[in-house]
Protein backbone atom coordinates (compact mmCIF):
# COMPACT_ATOMS: atom_id res chain seq x y z
CA UNK A 1 0.00 0.00 0.00
CA UNK A 2 2.99 2.23 0.40
CA UNK A 3 3.07 2.46 -3.39
CA UNK A 4 0.01 4.66 -3.37
CA UNK A 5 1.56 7.54 -1.57
CA UNK A 6 4.16 8.00 -4.32
CA UNK A 7 1.64 9.80 -6.52
CA UNK A 8 -1.64 10.47 -4.87
CA UNK A 9 -3.49 11.86 -7.87
CA UNK A 10 -4.86 10.23 -11.04
CA UNK A 11 -6.98 7.19 -11.87
CA UNK A 12 -4.13 5.29 -13.52
CA UNK A 13 -2.13 5.18 -10.32
CA UNK A 14 -5.05 3.55 -8.54
CA UNK A 15 -5.35 0.88 -11.20
CA UNK A 16 -1.64 0.20 -11.01
CA UNK A 17 -1.80 -0.03 -7.26
CA UNK A 18 -4.72 -2.44 -7.43
CA UNK A 19 -2.99 -4.69 -9.93
CA UNK A 20 0.19 -4.71 -7.92
CA UNK A 21 -1.65 -5.42 -4.71
CA UNK A 22 -3.03 -8.61 -6.21
CA UNK A 23 0.47 -9.96 -6.88
CA UNK A 24 2.65 -11.51 -4.17
CA UNK A 25 3.94 -8.87 -1.79
CA UNK A 26 7.55 -8.80 -2.91
CA UNK A 27 6.80 -8.78 -6.65
CA UNK A 28 7.18 -5.15 -7.24
CA UNK A 29 9.16 -4.40 -4.14
CA UNK A 30 12.61 -5.58 -5.07
CA UNK A 31 12.86 -6.93 -8.62
CA UNK A 32 15.64 -5.05 -10.33
CA UNK A 33 15.48 -3.88 -13.91
CA UNK A 34 17.90 -6.49 -15.25
CA UNK A 35 16.10 -9.49 -13.72
CA UNK A 36 15.21 -12.15 -16.32
CA UNK A 37 11.64 -11.78 -17.51
CA UNK A 38 11.35 -14.51 -20.16
CA UNK A 39 12.65 -17.63 -18.45
CA UNK A 40 12.28 -20.92 -20.32
CA UNK A 41 12.87 -24.07 -18.28
CA UNK A 42 13.38 -27.38 -20.12
CA UNK A 43 13.73 -29.76 -17.22
CA UNK A 44 11.12 -30.97 -14.71
CA UNK A 45 13.35 -30.19 -11.75
CA UNK A 46 14.34 -26.67 -12.81
CA UNK A 47 10.68 -26.11 -13.80
CA UNK A 48 9.51 -26.74 -10.29
CA UNK A 49 12.25 -24.76 -8.56
CA UNK A 50 11.55 -21.84 -10.89
CA UNK A 51 7.83 -22.03 -10.13
CA UNK A 52 8.68 -21.72 -6.45
CA UNK A 53 11.32 -18.98 -6.72
CA UNK A 54 10.28 -16.79 -9.66
CA UNK A 55 7.43 -14.35 -10.04
CA UNK A 56 4.79 -15.90 -12.32
CA UNK A 57 5.40 -13.18 -14.92
CA UNK A 58 9.09 -14.07 -15.09
CA UNK A 59 8.41 -17.53 -16.50
CA UNK A 60 7.78 -17.79 -20.23
CA UNK A 61 7.54 -21.59 -20.46
CA UNK A 62 8.07 -24.80 -18.51
CA UNK A 63 8.69 -28.32 -19.85
CA UNK A 64 5.61 -30.31 -20.84
CA UNK A 65 6.49 -32.90 -18.18
CA UNK A 66 5.77 -30.31 -15.50
CA UNK A 67 2.13 -30.29 -16.66
CA UNK A 68 1.84 -34.00 -15.91
CA UNK A 69 0.35 -34.63 -12.46
CA UNK A 70 2.02 -38.06 -12.23
CA UNK A 71 5.51 -36.60 -12.51
CA UNK A 72 5.16 -33.07 -11.25
CA UNK A 73 4.16 -31.84 -7.79
CA UNK A 74 3.43 -28.31 -8.96
CA UNK A 75 1.50 -29.31 -12.08
CA UNK A 76 -1.37 -26.94 -11.31
CA UNK A 77 0.92 -23.94 -11.14
CA UNK A 78 2.88 -25.23 -14.15
CA UNK A 79 -0.24 -25.28 -16.32
CA UNK A 80 -0.46 -21.50 -16.14
CA UNK A 81 2.64 -21.43 -18.34
CA UNK A 82 3.06 -22.59 -21.91
CA UNK A 83 4.72 -26.01 -22.26
CA UNK A 84 7.90 -26.65 -24.25
CA UNK A 85 9.32 -29.96 -25.44
CA UNK A 86 12.96 -29.01 -25.12
CA UNK A 87 13.36 -28.47 -28.87
CA UNK A 88 15.87 -25.84 -29.91
CA UNK A 89 13.55 -24.32 -32.52
CA UNK A 90 10.59 -23.88 -30.24
CA UNK A 91 12.76 -22.42 -27.47
CA UNK A 92 14.40 -20.05 -29.97
CA UNK A 93 11.02 -18.68 -30.99
CA UNK A 94 10.25 -17.90 -27.35
CA UNK A 95 13.30 -15.59 -27.29
CA UNK A 96 14.12 -16.32 -23.65
CA UNK A 97 16.50 -14.20 -21.62
CA UNK A 98 17.38 -17.18 -19.42
CA UNK A 99 17.20 -20.89 -20.18
CA UNK A 100 17.20 -23.45 -17.38
CA UNK A 101 18.16 -27.03 -18.24
CA UNK A 102 19.31 -30.30 -16.74
CA UNK A 103 23.03 -30.97 -16.97
CA UNK A 104 22.55 -34.51 -18.27
CA UNK A 105 19.58 -34.15 -20.58
CA UNK A 106 19.42 -32.61 -24.06
CA UNK A 107 23.07 -31.66 -24.16
CA UNK A 108 22.98 -31.07 -27.90
CA UNK A 109 20.03 -28.70 -27.48
CA UNK A 110 21.82 -26.79 -24.72
CA UNK A 111 24.91 -26.45 -26.91
CA UNK A 112 23.05 -25.14 -29.93
CA UNK A 113 21.09 -22.64 -27.82
CA UNK A 114 24.37 -21.42 -26.33
CA UNK A 115 25.80 -21.00 -29.83
CA UNK A 116 22.74 -18.96 -30.75
CA UNK A 117 23.68 -16.57 -27.98
CA UNK A 118 21.21 -17.51 -25.30
CA UNK A 119 22.13 -17.76 -21.65
CA UNK A 120 21.78 -21.44 -20.67
CA UNK A 121 22.16 -22.40 -17.02
CA UNK A 122 22.35 -26.12 -16.31
CA UNK A 123 21.61 -27.87 -13.03
CA UNK A 124 22.83 -31.30 -11.99
CA UNK A 125 20.10 -33.48 -10.51
CA UNK A 126 20.07 -32.99 -6.74
CA UNK A 127 21.78 -35.94 -5.09
CA UNK A 128 21.14 -34.88 -1.52
CA UNK A 129 19.25 -32.33 0.53
CA UNK A 130 22.44 -30.24 0.61
CA UNK A 131 22.26 -30.09 -3.20
CA UNK A 132 18.68 -28.84 -2.94
CA UNK A 133 19.87 -25.99 -0.70
CA UNK A 134 22.55 -25.07 -3.22
CA UNK A 135 20.10 -25.22 -6.13
CA UNK A 136 17.63 -22.93 -4.37
CA UNK A 137 20.33 -20.40 -3.54
CA UNK A 138 21.77 -20.45 -7.08
CA UNK A 139 18.43 -20.18 -8.85
CA UNK A 140 17.33 -17.43 -6.48
CA UNK A 141 20.35 -15.45 -7.60
CA UNK A 142 19.80 -16.17 -11.30
CA UNK A 143 16.21 -15.00 -11.02
CA UNK A 144 17.15 -11.95 -8.92
CA UNK A 145 14.88 -13.07 -6.13
CA UNK A 146 17.18 -12.98 -3.10
CA UNK A 147 14.44 -12.23 -0.57
CA UNK A 148 12.19 -15.04 -1.66
CA UNK A 149 15.06 -17.49 -1.94
CA UNK A 150 16.12 -16.63 1.62
CA UNK A 151 12.57 -17.16 2.84
CA UNK A 152 12.22 -20.50 1.01
CA UNK A 153 15.59 -21.66 2.35
CA UNK A 154 14.78 -20.75 5.93
CA UNK A 155 11.53 -22.67 5.78
CA UNK A 156 13.24 -25.61 4.01
CA UNK A 157 15.95 -25.82 6.68
CA UNK A 158 13.39 -25.69 9.42
CA UNK A 159 11.14 -28.37 7.91
CA UNK A 160 14.10 -30.59 7.06
CA UNK A 161 15.46 -30.38 10.60
CA UNK A 162 12.12 -31.41 12.01
CA UNK A 163 11.64 -34.24 9.49
CA UNK A 164 15.08 -35.83 9.89
CA UNK A 165 15.29 -38.80 12.26
CA UNK A 166 18.69 -38.49 13.86
CA UNK A 167 19.00 -41.30 16.37
CA UNK A 168 20.05 -44.46 14.58
CA UNK A 169 21.13 -47.70 16.19
CA UNK A 170 21.57 -51.40 15.44
CA UNK A 171 17.86 -52.12 15.17
CA UNK A 172 17.35 -49.49 12.47
CA UNK A 173 14.89 -51.01 9.98
CA UNK A 174 16.24 -51.95 6.56
CA UNK A 175 14.68 -50.41 3.49
CA UNK A 176 14.99 -51.49 -0.14
CA UNK A 177 14.41 -49.05 -2.99
CA UNK A 178 13.19 -50.78 -6.13
CA UNK A 179 12.52 -49.23 -9.51
CA UNK A 180 11.68 -50.40 -13.00
CA UNK A 181 14.22 -52.78 -14.58
CA UNK A 182 15.52 -53.84 -11.13
CA UNK A 183 17.26 -50.53 -10.46
CA UNK A 184 17.96 -49.27 -6.97
CA UNK A 185 19.61 -46.21 -5.42
CA UNK A 186 22.92 -46.67 -3.65
CA UNK A 187 24.94 -44.04 -1.85
CA UNK A 188 25.17 -40.52 -3.25
CA UNK A 189 21.54 -40.36 -4.36
CA UNK A 190 18.65 -38.21 -3.22
CA UNK A 191 16.52 -41.32 -2.63
CA UNK A 192 19.15 -42.75 -0.28
CA UNK A 193 19.21 -39.43 1.58
CA UNK A 194 15.41 -39.49 1.92
CA UNK A 195 15.57 -43.06 3.26
CA UNK A 196 18.36 -42.25 5.73
CA UNK A 197 16.59 -39.14 7.02
CA UNK A 198 13.42 -41.18 7.52
CA UNK A 199 15.38 -43.28 10.03
CA UNK A 200 15.89 -46.28 7.75
CA UNK A 201 18.96 -48.12 6.50
CA UNK A 202 19.12 -48.32 2.70
CA UNK A 203 20.25 -51.79 1.62
CA UNK A 204 21.72 -50.38 -1.58
CA UNK A 205 24.07 -48.23 0.49
CA UNK A 206 24.75 -51.15 2.86
CA UNK A 207 25.69 -53.38 -0.09
CA UNK A 208 28.22 -50.79 -1.22
CA UNK A 209 26.30 -49.75 -4.32
CA UNK A 210 26.94 -46.29 -5.69
CA UNK A 211 24.41 -44.20 -7.60
CA UNK A 212 21.61 -45.75 -9.62
CA UNK A 213 22.49 -49.39 -10.31
CA UNK A 214 20.82 -52.72 -10.87
CA UNK A 215 19.92 -54.75 -7.80
CA UNK A 216 19.19 -58.39 -8.68
CA UNK A 217 15.89 -59.53 -7.19
CA UNK A 218 17.72 -62.31 -5.34
CA UNK A 219 19.82 -59.82 -3.40
CA UNK A 220 16.76 -57.83 -2.38
CA UNK A 221 14.98 -60.97 -1.19
CA UNK A 222 17.98 -62.33 0.74
CA UNK A 223 18.38 -59.02 2.57
CA UNK A 224 14.80 -59.41 3.87
CA UNK A 225 14.09 -55.65 4.02
CA UNK A 226 11.65 -54.30 6.60
CA UNK A 227 10.38 -51.68 4.18
CA UNK A 228 10.16 -51.97 0.40
CA UNK A 229 9.90 -48.70 -1.49
CA UNK A 230 8.84 -49.33 -5.07
CA UNK A 231 8.73 -46.95 -7.97
CA UNK A 232 5.38 -45.47 -8.81
CA UNK A 233 4.36 -47.24 -12.02
CA UNK A 234 3.71 -45.56 -15.29
CA UNK A 235 0.19 -46.92 -15.74
CA UNK A 236 -0.11 -45.81 -19.37
CA UNK A 237 0.97 -49.13 -20.83
CA UNK A 238 2.48 -52.50 -20.01
CA UNK A 239 6.23 -53.05 -20.15
CA UNK A 240 8.62 -55.76 -19.06
CA UNK A 241 10.38 -53.13 -16.95
CA UNK A 242 7.82 -53.81 -14.22
CA UNK A 243 8.02 -57.59 -14.50
CA UNK A 244 9.97 -57.90 -11.24
CA UNK A 245 7.16 -56.18 -9.36
CA UNK A 246 4.80 -59.02 -10.16
CA UNK A 247 7.38 -61.71 -9.37
CA UNK A 248 6.05 -63.98 -6.59
CA UNK A 249 9.35 -63.70 -4.70
CA UNK A 250 8.91 -59.92 -4.40
CA UNK A 251 5.24 -60.28 -3.51
CA UNK A 252 6.11 -62.66 -0.67
CA UNK A 253 9.00 -60.46 0.49
CA UNK A 254 6.61 -57.49 0.50
CA UNK A 255 4.11 -59.42 2.60
CA UNK A 256 6.81 -60.23 5.13
CA UNK A 257 8.01 -56.63 5.23
CA UNK A 258 6.32 -54.28 7.64
CA UNK A 259 5.57 -51.75 4.94
CA UNK A 260 5.36 -51.55 1.17
CA UNK A 261 5.55 -47.96 0.00
CA UNK A 262 5.34 -46.42 -3.44
CA UNK A 263 7.34 -43.36 -4.34
CA UNK A 264 5.37 -40.36 -5.57
CA UNK A 265 6.11 -37.30 -7.68
CA UNK A 266 7.92 -35.60 -4.78
CA UNK A 267 10.79 -38.12 -5.16
CA UNK A 268 11.47 -37.27 -8.79
CA UNK A 269 13.15 -33.93 -8.19
CA UNK A 270 15.01 -32.32 -5.34
CA UNK A 271 12.95 -29.35 -4.19
CA UNK A 272 11.55 -27.98 -0.93
CA UNK A 273 8.57 -30.32 -1.23
CA UNK A 274 10.89 -33.36 -1.15
CA UNK A 275 10.86 -32.99 2.64
CA UNK A 276 7.29 -34.28 2.36
CA UNK A 277 8.65 -37.57 0.98
CA UNK A 278 10.58 -38.07 4.25
CA UNK A 279 7.46 -37.39 6.31
CA UNK A 280 5.29 -39.78 4.29
CA UNK A 281 7.95 -42.49 4.37
CA UNK A 282 8.27 -42.14 8.14
CA UNK A 283 4.53 -42.45 8.56
CA UNK A 284 4.36 -45.57 6.39
CA UNK A 285 7.43 -47.25 7.89
CA UNK A 286 6.46 -46.48 11.48
CA UNK A 287 9.65 -44.59 12.19
CA UNK A 288 7.87 -41.32 12.86
CA UNK A 289 8.28 -41.67 16.62
CA UNK A 290 11.67 -42.85 17.89
CA UNK A 291 10.26 -44.90 20.78
CA UNK A 292 8.14 -47.00 18.41
CA UNK A 293 11.18 -49.05 17.34
CA UNK A 294 12.13 -50.25 20.83
CA UNK A 295 10.54 -53.67 20.25
CA UNK A 296 13.65 -55.73 19.65
CA UNK A 297 16.21 -53.83 21.68
CA UNK A 298 18.22 -55.94 24.03
Amino acid sequence: MDLVKNNAGGKAAWVTALVLACLPADTAAARPENAPRRVVSMNLCTDQLALILADPDQIRSVSYVAHDAAASVLWQRARRHAPNHGLAEEVFLMQPDLILAGAFTRRATNDILRRLGFRVETFYPAQSFDDIRRHIARLGELLHQPARSRRVLARFDDELRRATVSNRHASTPKAALYYANNYTSGSGTLAADIVARAGLRNIGTALGLDGMVKLPLELLVIEAPDVIIAEQRDSSAAALAYEAFSHPALTIAAEKARAFVRTDNSWACGAPFTVGAIERLKAAAGTAMPKAQGGTSQ
Binding site: K214, E218, V221, A237, A239, A244, S246
Partner: protein
Protein backbone atom coordinates in the same frame (compact mmCIF):
# COMPACT_ATOMS: atom_id res chain seq x y z
CA UNK B 1 29.60 -94.05 -30.09
CA UNK B 2 27.10 -96.24 -28.32
CA UNK B 3 23.76 -94.47 -28.24
CA UNK B 4 22.85 -95.24 -24.63
CA UNK B 5 26.30 -94.22 -23.50
CA UNK B 6 26.00 -90.90 -25.35
CA UNK B 7 22.59 -90.12 -23.92
CA UNK B 8 23.71 -91.07 -20.41
CA UNK B 9 26.75 -88.83 -20.72
CA UNK B 10 24.61 -85.95 -21.98
CA UNK B 11 22.10 -86.50 -19.18
CA UNK B 12 24.91 -86.25 -16.64
CA UNK B 13 26.11 -83.01 -18.24
CA UNK B 14 22.54 -81.70 -18.18
CA UNK B 15 22.08 -82.53 -14.49
CA UNK B 16 25.42 -80.93 -13.66
CA UNK B 17 24.44 -77.78 -15.51
CA UNK B 18 21.05 -77.77 -13.75
CA UNK B 19 22.68 -78.01 -10.32
CA UNK B 20 25.22 -75.34 -11.28
CA UNK B 21 22.36 -73.09 -12.32
CA UNK B 22 20.67 -73.62 -8.94
CA UNK B 23 23.73 -72.69 -6.91
CA UNK B 24 24.74 -69.69 -9.05
CA UNK B 25 23.38 -66.26 -8.28
CA UNK B 26 24.19 -62.88 -6.85
CA UNK B 27 22.92 -63.84 -3.39
CA UNK B 28 25.73 -65.69 -1.66
CA UNK B 29 23.95 -68.69 -0.15
CA UNK B 30 26.26 -71.44 1.18
CA UNK B 31 26.06 -74.66 -0.85
CA UNK B 32 24.68 -76.83 1.94
CA UNK B 33 22.10 -74.23 2.86
CA UNK B 34 20.93 -73.78 -0.71
CA UNK B 35 19.92 -77.44 -1.11
CA UNK B 36 18.27 -77.42 2.28
CA UNK B 37 16.35 -74.30 1.29
CA UNK B 38 15.17 -76.01 -1.88
CA UNK B 39 13.04 -78.33 0.22
CA UNK B 40 12.14 -75.78 2.88
CA UNK B 41 14.55 -74.66 5.56
CA UNK B 42 14.85 -72.33 8.47
CA UNK B 43 16.16 -69.35 6.53
CA UNK B 44 13.02 -67.86 5.02
CA UNK B 45 14.86 -65.54 2.65
CA UNK B 46 17.04 -68.36 1.31
CA UNK B 47 13.96 -70.54 0.79
CA UNK B 48 12.37 -67.71 -1.16
CA UNK B 49 15.45 -67.27 -3.34
CA UNK B 50 15.83 -70.99 -4.05
CA UNK B 51 12.20 -71.95 -4.54
CA UNK B 52 10.77 -68.85 -6.17
CA UNK B 53 13.70 -67.41 -8.11
CA UNK B 54 16.36 -70.00 -8.96
CA UNK B 55 14.32 -73.18 -9.34
CA UNK B 56 11.81 -71.80 -11.88
CA UNK B 57 14.68 -70.14 -13.75
CA UNK B 58 16.65 -73.40 -13.98
CA UNK B 59 13.59 -75.43 -15.01
CA UNK B 60 12.69 -72.90 -17.66
CA UNK B 61 16.28 -72.90 -18.95
CA UNK B 62 16.25 -76.67 -19.24
CA UNK B 63 12.88 -76.77 -21.02
CA UNK B 64 13.72 -73.96 -23.44
CA UNK B 65 17.15 -75.36 -24.27
CA UNK B 66 15.70 -78.80 -24.89
CA UNK B 67 12.99 -77.26 -27.09
CA UNK B 68 15.48 -75.35 -29.22
CA UNK B 69 17.90 -78.27 -29.57
CA UNK B 70 15.13 -80.69 -30.46
CA UNK B 71 13.42 -78.35 -32.92
CA UNK B 72 16.74 -77.65 -34.63
CA UNK B 73 17.42 -81.36 -35.03
CA UNK B 74 13.93 -82.05 -36.41
CA UNK B 75 13.95 -79.11 -38.82
CA UNK B 76 17.42 -79.96 -40.13
CA UNK B 77 16.32 -83.53 -40.72
CA UNK B 78 12.97 -82.70 -42.26
CA UNK B 79 14.14 -79.85 -44.49
CA UNK B 80 17.36 -81.78 -45.21
CA UNK B 81 19.18 -78.57 -44.65
CA UNK B 82 22.09 -78.05 -42.27
CA UNK B 83 21.21 -74.39 -41.65
CA UNK B 84 17.64 -74.96 -40.45
CA UNK B 85 17.18 -73.51 -36.97
CA UNK B 86 14.20 -71.77 -35.31
CA UNK B 87 16.19 -68.52 -35.11
CA UNK B 88 17.53 -68.49 -38.66
CA UNK B 89 14.20 -69.51 -40.16
CA UNK B 90 12.50 -66.57 -38.41
CA UNK B 91 10.24 -68.74 -36.23
CA UNK B 92 11.60 -67.18 -33.03
CA UNK B 93 11.25 -63.60 -34.21
CA UNK B 94 7.71 -64.20 -35.45
CA UNK B 95 6.89 -65.73 -32.07
CA UNK B 96 8.45 -62.71 -30.35
CA UNK B 97 6.23 -60.45 -32.43
CA UNK B 98 3.15 -62.34 -31.24
CA UNK B 99 4.31 -62.13 -27.62
CA UNK B 100 5.07 -58.43 -27.91
CA UNK B 101 1.60 -57.70 -29.28
CA UNK B 102 0.02 -59.67 -26.41
CA UNK B 103 2.08 -58.00 -23.68
CA UNK B 104 2.16 -54.39 -24.80
CA UNK B 105 -1.50 -54.28 -25.78
CA UNK B 106 -2.26 -55.19 -22.18
CA UNK B 107 -3.95 -58.42 -23.24
CA UNK B 108 -1.47 -60.64 -21.39
CA UNK B 109 -1.99 -58.73 -18.15
CA UNK B 110 -5.72 -59.43 -18.27
CA UNK B 111 -5.45 -63.00 -19.49
CA UNK B 112 -1.95 -64.52 -19.15
CA UNK B 113 -2.66 -67.44 -21.46
CA UNK B 114 -2.89 -65.07 -24.40
CA UNK B 115 0.90 -64.59 -24.14
CA UNK B 116 1.95 -68.11 -25.21
CA UNK B 117 -1.06 -68.37 -27.53
CA UNK B 118 -0.12 -65.21 -29.43
CA UNK B 119 3.51 -66.29 -29.64
CA UNK B 120 2.52 -69.71 -30.93
CA UNK B 121 0.30 -68.09 -33.53
CA UNK B 122 3.28 -66.01 -34.68
CA UNK B 123 5.50 -69.09 -34.80
CA UNK B 124 2.90 -71.07 -36.70
CA UNK B 125 2.58 -68.31 -39.26
CA UNK B 126 6.36 -68.32 -39.73
CA UNK B 127 6.59 -72.10 -40.16
CA UNK B 128 3.69 -71.96 -42.62
CA UNK B 129 5.38 -69.18 -44.59
CA UNK B 130 8.68 -71.05 -44.66
CA UNK B 131 6.84 -74.02 -46.02
CA UNK B 132 5.12 -71.99 -48.70
CA UNK B 133 8.18 -69.93 -49.64
CA UNK B 134 10.79 -72.65 -49.64
CA UNK B 135 9.29 -76.05 -49.01
CA UNK B 136 11.10 -79.32 -48.49
CA UNK B 137 12.90 -79.40 -51.77
CA UNK B 138 14.25 -75.89 -51.80
CA UNK B 139 17.97 -75.37 -51.85
CA UNK B 140 19.84 -74.03 -48.88
CA UNK B 141 19.94 -70.52 -50.29
CA UNK B 142 16.20 -70.29 -50.94
CA UNK B 143 15.49 -71.52 -47.43
CA UNK B 144 17.89 -69.08 -45.79
CA UNK B 145 16.51 -66.19 -47.85
CA UNK B 146 12.97 -67.09 -46.87
CA UNK B 147 14.04 -67.28 -43.21
CA UNK B 148 15.88 -63.99 -43.48
CA UNK B 149 12.81 -62.30 -44.96
CA UNK B 150 10.59 -63.58 -42.16
CA UNK B 151 12.98 -62.78 -39.32
CA UNK B 152 13.70 -59.29 -40.69
CA UNK B 153 10.01 -58.54 -41.04
CA UNK B 154 9.30 -60.00 -37.60
CA UNK B 155 12.08 -57.96 -36.02
CA UNK B 156 10.97 -54.75 -37.74
CA UNK B 157 7.34 -55.18 -36.73
CA UNK B 158 8.41 -55.99 -33.15
CA UNK B 159 10.48 -52.81 -33.01
CA UNK B 160 7.59 -50.84 -34.47
CA UNK B 161 5.14 -52.22 -31.91
CA UNK B 162 7.52 -51.36 -29.05
CA UNK B 163 8.21 -47.88 -30.38
CA UNK B 164 4.50 -47.17 -30.64
CA UNK B 165 3.96 -48.08 -26.99
CA UNK B 166 3.31 -45.02 -24.81
CA UNK B 167 5.44 -46.56 -22.07
CA UNK B 168 8.96 -45.08 -22.23
CA UNK B 169 10.57 -48.36 -21.16
CA UNK B 170 9.00 -50.42 -23.92
CA UNK B 171 11.33 -49.26 -26.69
CA UNK B 172 14.38 -50.43 -24.73
CA UNK B 173 12.91 -53.88 -24.30
CA UNK B 174 13.57 -54.76 -27.91
CA UNK B 175 16.87 -56.16 -26.56
CA UNK B 176 15.05 -58.75 -24.50
CA UNK B 177 12.95 -59.92 -27.42
CA UNK B 178 15.89 -60.05 -29.85
CA UNK B 179 18.37 -61.76 -27.52
CA UNK B 180 16.38 -63.49 -24.81
CA UNK B 181 16.89 -63.72 -21.08
CA UNK B 182 15.86 -65.87 -18.13
CA UNK B 183 16.27 -63.12 -15.54
CA UNK B 184 13.47 -63.01 -12.96
CA UNK B 185 11.32 -65.61 -14.67
CA UNK B 186 8.90 -67.17 -12.19
CA UNK B 187 6.63 -70.19 -11.79
CA UNK B 188 3.99 -68.24 -13.67
CA UNK B 189 6.16 -68.39 -16.78
CA UNK B 190 6.88 -72.08 -16.23
CA UNK B 191 3.19 -72.93 -15.99
CA UNK B 192 2.38 -70.80 -19.02
CA UNK B 193 5.01 -72.29 -21.30
CA UNK B 194 5.86 -75.80 -20.08
CA UNK B 195 2.63 -77.58 -21.16
CA UNK B 196 2.96 -76.29 -24.71
CA UNK B 197 6.67 -77.01 -24.96
CA UNK B 198 6.17 -80.58 -23.74
CA UNK B 199 3.18 -81.13 -26.04
CA UNK B 200 5.38 -79.92 -28.89
CA UNK B 201 8.10 -82.40 -27.91
CA UNK B 202 5.63 -85.29 -28.13
CA UNK B 203 4.65 -84.26 -31.65
CA UNK B 204 8.27 -83.83 -32.75
CA UNK B 205 9.34 -87.19 -31.29
CA UNK B 206 6.35 -88.81 -32.99
CA UNK B 207 7.91 -87.79 -36.31
CA UNK B 208 11.27 -89.43 -35.51
CA UNK B 209 10.74 -92.66 -37.41
CA UNK B 210 9.43 -90.77 -40.43
CA UNK B 211 12.58 -88.62 -40.41
CA UNK B 212 14.73 -91.76 -40.62
CA UNK B 213 12.69 -93.00 -43.57
CA UNK B 214 12.85 -89.61 -45.27
CA UNK B 215 16.64 -89.80 -45.47
CA UNK B 216 16.01 -92.40 -48.19
CA UNK B 217 13.86 -89.93 -50.12
CA UNK B 218 10.14 -89.22 -49.89
CA UNK B 219 9.16 -91.84 -52.51
CA UNK B 220 10.88 -94.63 -50.62
CA UNK B 221 9.46 -93.33 -47.37
CA UNK B 222 5.96 -93.42 -48.81
CA UNK B 223 6.37 -97.02 -49.99
CA UNK B 224 7.38 -98.21 -46.52
CA UNK B 225 4.21 -96.77 -45.06
CA UNK B 226 5.19 -93.28 -43.93
CA UNK B 227 2.27 -90.84 -44.00
CA UNK B 228 3.97 -87.74 -45.34
CA UNK B 229 1.04 -85.40 -44.71
CA UNK B 230 0.83 -86.52 -41.08
CA UNK B 231 4.58 -86.11 -40.63
CA UNK B 232 4.43 -82.58 -42.01
CA UNK B 233 1.56 -81.66 -39.68
CA UNK B 234 3.38 -83.09 -36.65
CA UNK B 235 6.55 -81.18 -37.42
CA UNK B 236 4.94 -77.86 -38.38
CA UNK B 237 2.66 -77.73 -35.34
CA UNK B 238 5.16 -79.33 -32.95
CA UNK B 239 7.90 -76.85 -33.87
CA UNK B 240 5.53 -73.88 -33.80
CA UNK B 241 3.98 -74.51 -30.39
CA UNK B 242 7.19 -75.50 -28.61
CA UNK B 243 9.29 -72.62 -30.00
CA UNK B 244 6.34 -70.22 -29.65
CA UNK B 245 5.87 -71.04 -25.97
CA UNK B 246 9.62 -70.87 -25.29
CA UNK B 247 9.95 -67.47 -26.99
CA UNK B 248 6.88 -66.09 -25.22
CA UNK B 249 8.59 -66.31 -21.82
CA UNK B 250 12.29 -65.88 -22.63
CA UNK B 251 12.57 -63.98 -25.91
CA UNK B 252 14.31 -65.24 -29.03
CA UNK B 253 17.43 -67.19 -28.09
CA UNK B 254 19.44 -67.96 -31.19
CA UNK B 255 21.94 -70.53 -32.41
CA UNK B 256 21.16 -73.34 -29.93
CA UNK B 257 19.05 -75.16 -32.49
CA UNK B 258 21.80 -74.71 -35.08
CA UNK B 259 24.90 -75.68 -33.12
CA UNK B 260 23.66 -78.57 -31.00
CA UNK B 261 22.43 -80.96 -33.73
CA UNK B 262 25.55 -80.26 -35.80
CA UNK B 263 27.96 -81.16 -33.05
CA UNK B 264 26.05 -84.31 -32.21
CA UNK B 265 25.27 -85.58 -35.70
CA UNK B 266 28.57 -87.45 -36.25
CA UNK B 267 28.21 -89.02 -32.81
CA UNK B 268 24.83 -90.60 -33.56
CA UNK B 269 25.80 -92.02 -36.94
CA UNK B 270 23.75 -89.48 -38.92
CA UNK B 271 20.47 -91.14 -37.93
CA UNK B 272 17.81 -88.44 -37.31
CA UNK B 273 15.75 -90.40 -34.78
CA UNK B 274 18.80 -90.92 -32.59
CA UNK B 275 19.76 -87.28 -32.94
CA UNK B 276 16.54 -86.03 -31.36
CA UNK B 277 16.93 -87.09 -27.68
CA UNK B 278 20.63 -86.24 -27.73
CA UNK B 279 19.90 -82.74 -29.13
CA UNK B 280 17.22 -82.12 -26.51
CA UNK B 281 19.57 -83.08 -23.65
CA UNK B 282 22.50 -81.08 -25.03
CA UNK B 283 20.29 -78.06 -25.82
CA UNK B 284 19.08 -77.95 -22.23
CA UNK B 285 22.65 -78.22 -20.95
CA UNK B 286 23.85 -75.46 -23.30
CA UNK B 287 21.19 -72.95 -22.22
CA UNK B 288 21.75 -73.73 -18.55
CA UNK B 289 25.51 -73.33 -18.96
CA UNK B 290 25.03 -70.05 -20.84
CA UNK B 291 22.67 -68.83 -18.11
CA UNK B 292 25.26 -69.69 -15.46
CA UNK B 293 27.89 -67.80 -17.44
CA UNK B 294 25.59 -64.78 -17.69
CA UNK B 295 25.36 -64.66 -13.90
CA UNK B 296 29.04 -65.34 -13.23
CA UNK B 297 30.43 -62.81 -15.73
CA UNK B 298 29.30 -59.29 -14.77
CA UNK B 299 26.26 -60.38 -12.73
CA UNK B 300 25.02 -56.83 -12.16
CA UNK B 301 24.91 -56.06 -15.87
CA UNK B 302 22.13 -58.44 -16.84
CA UNK B 303 23.85 -59.57 -20.02
CA UNK B 304 21.27 -61.16 -22.29
CA UNK B 305 21.34 -64.90 -22.74
CA UNK B 306 21.32 -64.58 -26.53
CA UNK B 307 24.63 -62.72 -26.34
CA UNK B 308 26.26 -65.81 -24.86
CA UNK B 309 24.66 -68.24 -27.27
CA UNK B 310 25.53 -65.96 -30.20
CA UNK B 311 29.14 -65.75 -29.06
CA UNK B 312 29.28 -69.53 -29.27
CA UNK B 313 26.97 -69.87 -32.26
CA UNK B 314 28.10 -67.14 -34.62
CA UNK B 315 31.68 -68.39 -35.15
CA UNK B 316 30.19 -71.83 -35.63
CA UNK B 317 27.82 -70.40 -38.22
CA UNK B 318 30.77 -68.88 -40.08
CA UNK B 319 32.57 -72.21 -40.05
CA UNK B 320 29.43 -73.85 -41.37
CA UNK B 321 29.22 -71.39 -44.24
CA UNK B 322 32.79 -72.24 -45.25
CA UNK B 323 32.08 -75.94 -45.03
CA UNK B 324 28.89 -75.66 -47.07
CA UNK B 325 30.70 -73.61 -49.69
CA UNK B 326 33.43 -76.21 -49.98
CA UNK B 327 30.83 -78.89 -50.52
CA UNK B 328 29.11 -76.86 -53.21
CA UNK B 329 32.30 -76.38 -55.18
Amino acid sequence: MNNTLLNTALAIVLITAFVASLVTGPAAIPLSQSFEALFGGANEAAVLVMQEIRLPRAILGLLIGATLGLTGAVLQGYLRNPLADPGILGISSAAALGAVIAIYSGLAAMLPITLPVAAMAGALLAVFLIHRLAGRHAGTITLILAGLAISTLGGALTTLALNLSPNPYAALEIVFWMLGSLTDRSWLHVTLAAPFMIAGWFMLFAAARALDALTLGSDVAATIGIDLARTRTLIVIGAAISVGAATAVAGAIGFVGLVVPHVLRPLVGHQPSRLLPASALAGGALILAADVAVRVIAPARDIKLGVRTALIGAPFFVWLVFKTRRELV
